[in-house]
Structure formats: C-alpha cells, structure tokens
C-alpha cells in the first residue's frame, strides 16, 4: 500500500537535515545561502532578510542561479517547514547539492522566535504582470522591482541621449523621472530624439516627454524642470535624486554638474557623442574618479565642437543613451559591475568598443576634499565656468 501524505513527509524528513531558526539566525550572511521556496505572493508579503527566492516548483531550473556552488551551505525555508523539506530532498538527491538543510517550522516559527522579517511593499496584480520579465530574474525580482519603483532618476536633457534613456527607464518602472530641459521640440530633433513625435513640434520637450511616458507607464511620476540648469538652480534641482543621467551638450554645465554631484554624493551616468563616436562612464563620488579627474580642464573651442554643428548619426545617441539606462538600472539594483573608474569608447563605423582606466586624481580640486569641506558660502557660488571656458577658448 502506498504511504499516506503524512507518512511520506515523515519519510522525507528522516532523509534530510533540519536546522533550527536559531542556527539560521546565527549563520545568515556568513556563507549560508538561505532560499525561500514559497510562492511569489507569499514571499512578497514577508520574508527573511537576505533570503533568495526560488519557488519550490522552479527549484530544479532556477536554484543554480541562487546557489551556483553545490558545496555551499544551502538552507531552504517555507511557511512551516514541509515544502522546504521536499525541496531539500530534491536538491540533495536529484541535483547533487552536498550540504542542504530545511529550516524547522518555516517562517512562522522564525517570526514566533522574534527574528526580523522584511515586508516589502507588495506589487499590484497589474504590476506583477507588467514587470513579470523582471520578476523572473534573480538579479531583479520583487525586491529589485520595488527598488526601481521607489527610485528617483534625474535626466539632464530630453534630447538625443535623454530620450532613449527616459523611455527605457520609464518602461523599467523607475518611479520618479525628473527631466530638465528648456527647449521645445524641433523637426530636426526627431531623427534621434525618439521620445518626441511629429505632432509635438513646438511643444516644450518636458511636456512632450511627459506625455510619452504617461502613455507608456502610469507607474512613473514625471517631474518637469523647463529651465536651463545653472549655478543658481542646480543644488535645488538635483537634491533627493538617486542617480543623474548626464546628456549635457556643453563643458561648463558638465563641470558644474560634477561639482554639485560630488558635493551631494549623487552618482552621475555620463555619456557624450560626436559623429560616429560615443563615450560612457559612471562617476560615483568617492568610490571612483569624478569628471574633473578624467578631464581636469576643458579643451579650447576648436577641439570642442558641438553636435549641432557637426552632425550625429541618429542611432548613436540611442546606443549610448541605452548604455546609460543600463548603468542606471545596475546602480539602483546594486547588481553587476558599474562602469566606475572605466571609460567606454564606442566607434560605430568600425563597430569597436575600447575600455580605458580612469584613476582618481589625488590632487583633484573637487573630489580630493570631503563633501562637507566645501563651505556653504562656496556652495551657491560656483566659479563662473562660462567665463572660464570662454577665456580658455
């Protein structure tokens, strides 16, 4: 006679190792891989901080992303310790993991013992559908998606670089997108500035961008700044943003942005383009070099042409703007190796990428000093870069 379900569970539990929540609490974050095997909605309500999420029905196909090392100490938990017992047997018998345990009593006992749980904001059913391809990824998941939804990204310019970046960041569910642009849509913009449309020629770019974003993703709040960024307004505008996307078209403002972002310790994902060539880097204050470490002084005018005068292949800002958006998402999620201390050069005609190292300058006039070493008096009165650059040119 086949065993009853309860009998079978007893047999399974006799074949696996079980650990008490106290053991997990002691060793969590210390080489132990803790995996929550419950369903997505259960995980979304509350889970143990630091736990990875692999639903039991996906253990066979997805555990290797969560626990690539089969010699690692893997502890599974569920609601009460039964599903995780089955899971532990699967990992041991079928998948060759050598040190697997199931946590006794599940998250219910964990909570009874008074240990902490994370209760992330839950996604709505519509959001679970909209972001389902993110939720399937170990590197994003519900927690990562909520990070995106709670993040604030500032785009300097809704032009060639800002347009594709804004579209994909909005689609990805970045909750707040600030857009600084004092320009109106021109017909000649549409060859590359894909967030705008033919029927919006003459409309302020911030309004046009807001319309497109609203139609794409209602989760995204757009904050519009129809101004030209300068020393008088930059501190007020950038305050409270998590990441800044720099698609500025001139050196004075790039230096101004650098100094303000170092002062406020906001990372800047910076790109520039010319003709068939693009450059990309991430300036994360105090973790890597700043823009002044890379380019201590601007070049004279004849070596600093603008795109307006020189032309740009329409798809190139698309490529570079999306590389920027990718770096932004990585910074928000805290995943991967952001392009900090590295400069990526892309040459479209030859289809070549070149990577260069960028070092922090120990004598950098800005980032060699602690942010609060810059006095309040100095703050509102950035040097007059316009005059400086005019003189240099």
């Amino acid at each position: 006679m086949s065993p009853s379900g309860a009998e079978l569970l007893r047999q399974v539990k006799s074949q696996i190792e079980e650990v008490d929540p106290a053991v997990v609490a002691e060793h969590l974050g210390n080489g132990m891989v803790l995996v929550d095997v419950r369903e997505t909605d259960e995980f979304g309500v509350a889970h143990i901080p630091g736990a990875k999420h692999v639903p039991k029905s996906y253990l066979e196909t997805r555990i290797e992303a969560a626990a690539p090392d089969k010699d690692a100490w893997v502890v599974l938990y569920c609601a009460s310790g039964n599903r995780s017992a089955w899971g532990a047997r699967t990992l041991t018998k079928d998948l060759g993991y050598r040190r697997v345990a199931s946590m006794t009593g599940g998250i219910a006992l964990w909570k009874d013992r008074g240990y902490a749980v994370t209760t992330p904001k839950a996604l709505t059913a519509e959001q679970r559908d909209r972001y389902s391809r993110h939720l399937l990824m170990e590197e994003v998941g519900v927690e990562g998606q909520i990070k995106l939804l709670e993040s604030r990204v500032l785009l300097l310019g809704a032009g060639g670089l800002g347009s594709p970046a804004a579209l994909y960041l909005a689609a990805a569910g970045v909750g707040t997108l600030g857009i600084v642009d004092n320009d109106v849509v021109d017909l000649s913009n549409l060859q590359r500035q894909v967030i705008h449309t033919s029927d919006r020629v003459g409309v302020p770019k911030v309004d046009s961008a807001e319309q497109t974003i609203a139609a794409l993703n209602p989760d995204v709040q757009v904050v519009k700044y129809p101004v030209r960024i300068d020393a008088s307004n930059i501190m007020e505008i950038i305050e409270g943003y998590d990441v800044i996307v720099d698609g500025l078209d001139n050196f004075p403002t790039r230096y101004l942005l650098n100094d303000a972002s170092v002062r406020t310790q906001i990372p800047v994902v910076s790109a520039s383009i010319l003709g068939f060539d693009g450059q990309l880097s991430v300036f994360k204050p105090y973790e890597g070099p700043c823009y002044r470490c890379l380019y201590p002084t601007p070049p004279p005018a004849e070596l600093a042409p603008s795109c307006g005068a020189n032309g740009v292949l329409g798809v190139l800002p698309g490529t570079m703007g999306l590389l920027q958006a990718t770096e932004v998402v990585k910074l928000i999620l805290g995943e991967g190796e952001p392009l900090i201390g590295r400069l990526l050069l892309y040459e479209a005609l030859g289809a070549t990428f070149t990577e260069l190292k960028v070092r922090r300058d120990p004598d950098c006039p800005i980032c060699s000093r602690p942010p609060d070493a810059i006095s309040d008096e100095e703050m509102g009165v950035f040097p007059d870069y316009e005059a400086f650059c005019a003189a240099a040119g």
Binding site: F251, S306, G308, K357
Partner: protein, 92 residues
C-alpha cells in the same frame, strides 16, 4: 610601429584616418612622429613648452600615461596609444 587611435576632433588633421601608425620607443617619440607626419596635430597635442596639453589624455593600451612615466613611458611595437580629448556632445 605603434598604433595610434585618433579621436574624432583630430581626424581632419590626419587625413580622416581613425588610426595611424607611428615610430618611436616612448610615448613622446610616437606622438612627435605623429606631429611630424601631420603638423596640424602639433599644437593640438603639445603646449608651446613641448608638454602634453592638459586637456588631452593619452593612454598606453588602457592606462593613462600620466600614471605611468608620462611622455617617457616605453612603447612596444604591438602597443596602442589612444588620444582622447574631452568630449561634451549631447544632442539638443
């Protein structure tokens, strides 16, 4: 001969090429050979005193020559020099 990658703003000065070859056993020698072959690059690369202009970065393979031995940095036959002036183009 080392390979020298030419940035967009200097390409007009070297006949439109994206890379050129130049002789020399140090960074300074290679850049001087480049300037001799393409005189328009001289003032773009070097100050009147013969120093590398501060707004021009030069990399030996992937490393800034300023953290190596500057213009004295040794250059091998198979090395690549990348000349990189600051670029600020967004597109409005």
């Amino acid at each position: 001969m080392a390979t020298v990658k030419i940035p967009p703003v200097l390409r007009a000065s070297v006949g439109g090429e994206k890379e050129v070859s130049a002789d020399g056993s140090s960074v300074g020698e290679v850049l001087n050979a480049l300037a001799a072959a393409h005189p328009q690059t001289q003032s773009q690369l070097f100050s009147a005193e013969g120093e590398l202009n501060r707004y021009v970065n030069v990399y030996l393979n992937d490393e800034d020559v300023r953290v190596l031995d500057g213009l004295q940095t040794a250059v091998g036959e198979s090395d690549t020099l990348v000349i990189l002036p600051a670029m600020a183009g967004g597109s409005r």
